[in-house]
């Protein structure tokens, strides 16, 4: 559950001068590195393993990610999920009856549709004979949905899986207080008027104060933004660095959007409203404008602001995953292989958002690859400060030796390969749906940019993390 910011990101005027300067920066300082991947020979030709089924992504889509409280605000989560499923059906033309199983990730659950996967599938016209379940693992819920599907295919239980995720932060369950709930439940059981009256007589006005969904880590009671601010301070990440990184994310996202690279987005005709076609959170600003914002969590001297955090987002994504032979038999040209993946977890207080640091070297080792083999990095951007802290942690001998039990540092990440089409800071972060967006961005970038291996990584509440290798499908 990333940045639950209490106020929305103010629309900041875009200044092209800054954007230009910024987008030039990676080019100007790293022309050598640009050329590097082309001549690089990979540690491994492919990650295919003998006697294990190859699992492929046929395609994936998402509805536009919107700022919460905008066009999707009157819908329910399963409406968004349904739209993503319909979009997937339309994009892939997969016959509904071949889908063996449907899995969705979500974080803040609507109690009426607690198995949102099933409600959405039924509504989207999938066969009522196709089972569906919902998983939750904070910001890596959709990743969990995908890897659950991978497991079902790898073990031979299924051939065709639809995995996805959904989040609707425009509406969250706000409950009556525990005292009020208790009284209402007791009233249900009361048989006589006397019993009812005696229960009602116990009513106090404070019973009416509502219970908001927890915006804080349950174990530590600390909000994620607060933890991110402390993390940034621990790694000495400055406010300016954070603002610069956020600006980069918005600038690159804008560019990708303008160039039509975000091909996973499918339009969504919102009932009673106009058709939504574009992500709404991409707003490149200027460093001067960003510098004016006050810190959002640690006041008055913190460094995490609304402008360098991901914002509350509504959205849904869905992806068609198959065993390779099944996809080929059905005549599909898959986009990518889903390869090795890992889940990690660490201290939810001081290392809440360091999941990628732990997961990256682990998944590389598991796959037998090195950092140099990776052509495309797609990391979930919860906060600028979080991304930069992860960079510094991976590049620090002291941290990796003392906290990760490794002899040497993981290494520095090449920024020119990193989130080149924007990230959660700019595209938005519907908690349950981001995982599929990351994998589709990785697959699409590999096709577009011509690389072979991509590394997807994300942090999640609870001090957890995830990483997966996505391999391009040979053209």
């Amino acid at each position: 559950m990333t940045s639950i910011l209490t106020y929305t990101f103010k629309s900041l005027p875009s200044t092209s001068k800054w954007a230009l300067r910024f987008s030039l920066r990676p080019l100007s300082c790293s022309s050598q590195l640009w050329a590097a991947p082309a001549v690089q020979t990979k540690s491994k030709k492919t990650l295919a393993k003998p006697n294990i089924r190859n699992i492929v992504v046929v395609d994936g889509v998402r509805i536009p990610f919107l700022l919460s409280g905008t066009s999707y605000k009157d819908l329910m989560p399963h409406d968004l999920a349904r739209a993503a499923l319909s979009g997937l059906l339309h994009r892939t033309n997969v016959p509904k009856e071949v889908v063996d199983y449907i899995i969705f990730g979500t974080v803040v659950q609507e109690v009426k549709t607690s198995n949102v996967a099933r409600e959405a599938a039924l509504g989207a016209g999938f066969s009522d004979k196709t089972p569906a379940h919902t998983v939750t693992m904070a910001c890596i819920s959709a990743n969990q949905a995908m890897t659950t599907g991978v497991g079902l295919i790898a073990s031979g239980q299924c051939d065709v899986i639809v995995a996805g995720g959904v989040e609707l932060m425009s509406d969250v369950p706000i409950r009556h207080s525990r005292k009020m709930r208790k009284m209402m439940l007791d009233l249900n059981k009361a048989k006589t008027l006397g019993q009812r009256l005696s229960l009602i007589s116990k009513f106090r006005l404070n019973f009416l104060s509502p219970e908001l969904p927890a915006v804080a880590e349950f174990s530590t009671n600390e909000t994620m933004g607060h933890s991110a601010d402390r993390l940034a301070a621990a790694f000495a990440v400055s406010r300016l660095e954070q603002d610069e990184y956020a600006l980069r994310s918005h600038t690159l996202a804008k560019k990708a959007q303008d160039e039509g690279l975000l091909s996973d987005v499918v339009p969504f005709k919102v009932p009673g409203k106009d058709t939504v076609t574009k992500d709404s959170g991409i707003r490149p600003s200027s460093l001067e404008q960003m510098a004016k914002l006050k810190p959002a969590f640690i006041k008055p001297y913190g460094t995490v602001t609304a402008a360098n955090s991901s914002f509350l987002t509504d959205g849904a994504s869905a992806m068609l995953i198959m065993a390779e032979e099944k996809a080929l038999a059905m005549g599909y040209k898959p986009k990518a292989y889903l390869r090795d993946f890992v889940y990690v977890s660490q201290d939810p207080k001081d290392q809440l958002l360091l999941g990628p640091t732990y997961a990256t070297p682990k998944v590389l080792e598991k796959a037998g690859l090195t950092m140099n083999d990776i052509d495309v990095f797609e990391f979930h951007e919860a906060f600028s400060g979080q991304i930069l802290a992860n960079f510094k942690a991976m590049d620090s001998d002291w941290f990796t030796q003392n906290y990760m039990g490794r002899k040497t540092k993981v290494g520095s990440l090449p920024l020119e390969k990193f989130n080149n089409w924007g990230g959660s800071l700019s595209l938005g972060h519907p908690f349950g749906a981001t995982g599929c967006r990351l994998v589709m961005a990785a697959a699409n970038r590999l096709r577009k940019e011509g690389g072979q291996y991509s590394l997807v990584a994300a942090c999640a509440a609870g001090g957890q993390g995830h990483a997966m290798i996505v391999e391009a499908y040979p053209k």
């Binding site: 009671n221 402390r230 301070a233 621990a234 790694f235 001081d350 510094k392 002291w398 941290f399 906290y403």
Partner: protein, 728 residues
């Protein structure tokens, strides 16, 4: 305020985190000003902000001593004189400690009140300089800031910040003591403690800049109207002499009530404040330093300082590190004691098995541990998550499963030798060879318990005090056969549990129970002589005991007292005589067991704080009435009859070698039995009061009652050679 400084320094060790300071590196150090090699205080310049670092050499904490004070004044003068510097940050280079208070050794070294007054004046000068600073100063405080440290940090002219893991930092902010909190950081590119201090400094520097540039207001924005009116009103009211007199009176009454006039410091503080208000600041400061000098020379001051040193001593493991660290603890018996021991173990991260014979008994014990932890959640000392994770260190069970992995078993079953023998044999059948067997008993001799053991070198006594989570003392009892490693292991566990530890030799009643028993015997006699429980309680509390003697019997349990009195009476015979054991026997027969049964000398009702006398006791007391001896029955005599028997027995314990050192005897008596802290413990009392006077008293009572008051040889030796002291 000055006196509170000394007291602060006494209680400081409670919250210290022991961290080694790793060389402090400051980045972005722009100012090239030469870092003069002062030993305690140094400063550097960041832009136009001076960063003053306090770092007492070769010490875990910073203490205010003469060198620190003079260097500090030097540094401040340079800063005020410099045109380049516009504001300053005051910070400690030691993670987890700002300033712990006045250096106790500095005070102890003072020979005369004048010398101590001088020390105080030096301190005042320093604080005055700070208060009158023309350049804003930000105190950046990480960790303990006590006594004088608080004065450095908090004068009204200051802005400060605080880091700390506990809620206390939070509360300091609420109280308006500090302006800004900085949360401790986790790991980054260097150790968390190091980076946190660096971060604290960075934030403090930006605040100092802001203050100097007038971008930040130095006023504490306590936006509450009530607070404003309240302070306004109070300051107005204080201008009226009559109101002031009333306030002084009220405060004095309050202090008198709480200290019973036994601790002179609080009253002198009121005096000093009074002088300050009535006659102006200068007179106030003068009075403060004079009174401070007087106070530093009092017996009470010496007694408290002695306790401080004793406690430091009893927080060390003089037996060295045990061969095998105890990681798995098992406790037998989930009663009040067993569950209490479990609570202080699990909250330090020890895996603990709590075993009882019945599910109901076990459930009660588990609930006690949970409640102990949950009360801390209610006080916000723990989060509910921390409570749950601490509670998961506890395993409740009815069988001996996993005892084969236990490194130490502490039995806390009922005080019955045959039962203790039974569990010892059962346990020895299942535990591994290296496992220590500790017995929690208040009076049963350990060698008798160990008699049935296959491996007596692994058997030891660990005498906890009730309630275990509140009482700091742990008395460890070694027999002739107990191995040194077993003792080291028991001390290590006790220290981990946060206890102050005295290690004594085995013998009936060990040390603590043995000292208490003759005093309790005297209590009974006094009651039989017609002094009511209420009167007795007030006589003992006004002498400095935290709990009155009759109430103490009720709290300990009349049945326990009877048990102990019978056992020790057998062992020591006439010397432990005095009151009639019959009194306790009749009370037990009637079910007057004290608080636990609802009736003892007093009647206890759930939810009611008032205690009424148990009128059914009248007939028992009337039946056992003894004639009072008028020559030894004045209030003072009654007090001294109790105290001298206690002291005499304590000295005898040292004479017999039960106690290794007088310091342990004093710590045991004060922390375990509530011996008046202002007297410093029985041995310190003999030193300060005079051995001859103690012996004279004993002789006087001996003449009236006989052998029970015969002074022991060691005490007589001390009386005969006035140069002889327990503390050099």
């Amino acid at each position: 305020m000055v006196a509170s400084r000394a007291i602060g320094s006494l209680s400081r060790f409670s919250g210290l985190r022991i961290l080694r300071s790793r060389g402090y590196i400051c980045r972005n150090f722009t100012g090239s000003s030469a870092l003069l090699t002062r030993t305690h205080v140094n400063y550097g310049v960041k832009g136009d902000v001076a960063v003053i670092r306090i770092n007492s050499p070769n010490s875990k904490v910073n203490t205010l001593n003469k060198e620190l004070q003079s260097e500090f004044i030097e540094v401040m003068n340079e800063i005020w004189a410099s045109d380049q510097i516009r504001s300053a940050v005051l910070i400690s280079s030691k993670p987890g400690c700002f300033v712990a208070g006045a250096d106790i050794n500095m005070l102890a070294a003072c020979k005369t009140p004048q010398e101590a007054a001088q020390v105080s004046q030096e301190g005042q000068k320093m604080f005055e300089k700070l208060e009158k600073s023309t350049k804003p100063i930000v105190a950046a405080i990480s960790g303990s800031c006590l006594g004088g440290g608080l004065e450095v940090g908090v004068p009204a002219a200051f802005d400060m910040m605080l880091t700390g893991r506990s809620i206390r930092a939070d509360r300091a902010k609420k109280m308006g003591l500090v302006d800004q909190l900085v949360e401790p950081l986790g790991p980054g590119l260097k150790p968390p403690e190091e980076r946190t201090i660096e971060y604290l400094e960075e934030v403090a520097v930006s605040f100092a800049k802001g203050l100097a540039d007038k971008k930040i207001s130095s006023k504490r924005n306590k936006g509450l109207m009530e607070t404003f009116y309240l302070t306004e009103l109070t300051s107005y009211a204080m201008t009226i002499p009559f109101v002031r007199q009333q306030i002084y009176k009220k405060v004095e009454e309050q202090v008198q009530k709480q200290t019973k006039g036994l601790y002179p410091a609080p009253l002198k503080i009121i005096d000093v404040v009074k002088t300050g208000i009535e006659q102006g600041n200068d007179a106030g400061y003068l009075a403060e330093s004079q009174k401070f000098g007087e106070l530093a020379m009092t017996k009470e001051s010496k007694a408290l300082m002695g306790l401080y040193h004793g406690q430091v001593l009893c927080k060390k493991n003089k037996f060295g590190a045990p061969q095998k660290e105890v990681k798995q603890l098992a406790i037998l018996g989930a009663g009040l004691m067993g569950a209490g021991i479990a609570q202080v173990s699990v909250d330090k991260g020890l895996n603990t098995i709590l075993k009882d014979a019945t599910l109901a008994g076990l459930g009660r014990g588990q609930q006690q541990v949970f409640k102990g932890l949950n009360d801390k959640v209610k006080k916000k000392a723990l989060t509910s998550f921390e409570r749950d994770s601490i509670f998961s260190n506890l395993t409740g069970q009815l069988d001996y499963q996993n005892f084969e992995k236990a490194d130490m078993v502490i039995e806390a079953v009922f005080e019955d030798l045959s039962l203790k023998h039974k569990v010892l044999k059962e346990v020895e059948a299942v535990i591994p060879d290296h496992c220590v067997f500790a017995s929690n008993t208040s009076a049963l001799p350990i060698n008798e318990i160990a008699a049935v053991s296959k491996r007596p070198e692994k058997v030891i006594g660990m005498h906890y005090f009730s309630p275990v989570d509140k009482m700091q003392l742990l008395e460890i009892i070694t027999t002739q056969k107990t191995s040194k490693d077993t003792t080291a292991s028991a001390v290590a566990v006790g220290l981990k549990q946060g206890k102050v530890i005295v290690v004594v030799k085995d013998g009936p009643g060990f040390y603590t129970t043995r000292c208490l028993a003759p005093m309790m015997s005297e209590v009974i006699r006094i009651l039989q002589e017609g002094v009511g429980p209420k009167k007795l309680d007030s006589l003992t509390t006004s002498f400095g005991f935290p709990v009155g003697a009759a109430t103490l019997a009720d709290e300990v349990g009349v049945d326990v007292a009877k048990h102990v009195a019978e056992d020790l009476g057998k062992a020591f015979g006439e010397r432990f005589g005095g009151g009639s054991l019959e009194l306790l026997q009749q009370m037990v027969a009637k079910g007057f067991l004290g608080r636990k049964s609802g009736k003892g000398f007093y009647i206890y009702q759930e939810g009611s704080k008032d205690k009424n006398l148990n009128s059914d006791m009248d007939s028992i007391l009337a039946g056992l009435k003894l004639p009072a001896r008028p020559e030894v029955s004045s209030d003072e005599d009654i007090q001294y009859r109790l105290v001298t028997r206690f002291v005499n027995e304590a000295v005898m314990c040292l004479q017999e070698g039960i106690l290794a050192t007088p310091a342990e005897g004093d710590i045991g008596a004060v922390f375990g039995l509530g011996f008046p802290p202002c007297l410093g413990g029985p041995f310190r009392f003999v030193d300060l009061y005079g051995a001859q006077k103690v012996v004279d008293r004993l002789r006087k009572y001996e003449a009236a009652y006989g052998k029970q008051f015969t002074p022991c040889q060691l005490l007589i030796d001390h009386a005969n050679s006035p140069g002889k002291k327990f503390y050099p």
